[in-house]
Symmetry: C2
Subunit: 291 residues, 2 copies
């Protein structure tokens, strides 16, 4: 059992929601925030409350490291504590770090995020520099059961600049990225048939989503952009298999700031309860979509 | 005067060498290393000695954050202190972080690396997800005078997987990346005509190097891979203008571990003096190459 197997089981048991802990201090109710001595302390406390509130409602968590880096060392201490807390509670966490660098450097990054202070269950990776920048991660993943999601096709407007370009040999650039990920996945298959390395795939059109799902059967998908980023449940669902497996759908702000619709939610626990409500609603909507 | 202007002046005054502080604890002489209470403390002390030894011999420094992340919070404290020390001494530092993410996240990353604990003069960026992932960096750079180098064409074997792919519309993918960077550079030009955003360009063939230099006159280049990574002085020089301006050439391990050829170099100061010797030799060789 590697981590992708564990994630597959978590999806079957708890649905497709990935709670994005892209936590900024301003995403906490002010009355709660001012009680902490630093932004990092506040962010960690809210993350803890959110994890406690959603462990049975979410398949996994995703921590976007940029939010923590922007708070400096204090933020990275909160990042480290958040990862440790999720793992201690038996949750699975994807470190959204989108690293991509040459061999020796990639090995250092893998050490950084697959062990030690910043140990996560999965990472996200950027394929721009090619397959040799992904290999060192695979080498360490095979030894430790860790997993990764490689950027393939995102849904931001800029995806047309490079990712979506048509190649002289046919197909799009993102097809080539997917091909590389499939190669890595084939070498590191879990008990349920998914590669331990999957793909980050966001879609803006349902047709493209269904086509991508059909084409890359052995790739588990991390599907970003639900909710606050404008992504719809239909499109997310089109990237899943007919039994609802094969991917997790991330929402961050719509869960983190769900309390804003609740004037009396002034504590972290009350805010986290609203986050739980948003996650459950999201799970219900996704599972109700036609596939 | 923005930071790219300052870097141009530093090159004219001190040559093209960029000292890569990709510092691992094992790159210190063992007799010196064992005196420190943590790997981060040791790494920072060696970085400090290297900066003291090379301030007049190097145009700038480049810190590869993977090496620091791999040491966890202790390493990132050393990273923060290294950046602060270089800037305190009047040096210029490129944070080699290769970040690339969507708009809101990119703005958080820009805050993280253009201010606060991890403030650097330049960053490196990954363009895979498109121009809207670079824009937030430009917005903050314009306000602060900061600069960036965007990955365009690297020299690792995997560059053929995506970067070097031929597009249906003609040209290579890296040409498109360069076009995006040129667009950003045009909007943020310094007093010497270079864009405040330049490109990471490593070349394995001299012909391609000369062609790229001629094609992107207003882009300042960060040229990696000299020395330990197998890059030659000729190729690096072919990416510079005839007066030697237009780029910095990074070397890391060949400078950091130059002391290994010196059996009596047992202190950090002695090791750093060997690093200085290697940097001066590298500067001499590059300036002696035909362009």
């Amino acid at each position: 059992m590697n981590n992708m197997d564990r994630l597959h089981e978590a999806v079957l048991e708890k649905g497709n929601v990935c709670v994005g802990l892209d936590t900024a201090a301003e995403y906490l109710p002010e009355a709660a925030r001012v009680k902490f001595s630093s932004a990092g302390e506040a962010v960690f406390a809210y993350n803890k409350a959110l994890v406690d509130a959603t462990l049975d409602a979410a398949a996994c968590y995703k921590t976007q490291i940029a939010y923590y880096e922007s708070l400096g060392l204090d933020g990275l201490a909160a990042y480290s504590r958040t990862l440790a807390y999720i793992r201690e509670r038996g949750g699975l966490v994807i470190a959204d770090i989108k690293r991509g660098d040459i061999a020796d450097t990639a090995a250092r990054y893998a050490t950084a995020h697959f062990s030690g202070d910043f140990e996560a269950d999965f990472v996200t990776l950027n394929p721009y520099m090619g397959s040799d920048t992904l290999e060192p991660w695979l080498n360490m993943a095979e030894k430790t059961g860790k997993g990764a999601f490689v950027l393939v096709r995102t849904s931001n407007p800029g995806m047309n600049d490079l990712e979506n370009r048509e190649l002289a040999t046919g197909g799009r650039l993102y097809d080539e990225a997917a091909r590389i990920v499939c190669g890595l996945a084939e070498r590191y298959v879990g008990v349920y048939g998914y590669g331990g390395f999957g793909a980050v795939v966001g879609c803006t059109e349902n047709d493209a989503a269904a086509e991508i799902r059909a084409k890359y059967k052995n790739l588990f998908f991390l599907i970003p952009g639900y909710g606050a980023q404008g992504g719809g449940a239909d499109t997310a669902a089109a990237l899943l298999n007919s039994d609802g497996s094969g991917g997790v759908v991330n929402a961050s702000r719509s869960i983190l700031t769900a309390w804003r619709a609740c004037p009396q939610c002034l504590t972290l626990e009350a805010a986290a309860a609203e986050g739980r409500r948003a996650a459950l609603e999201m799970r219900r909507v996704i599972s109700g979509c036609k596939r």
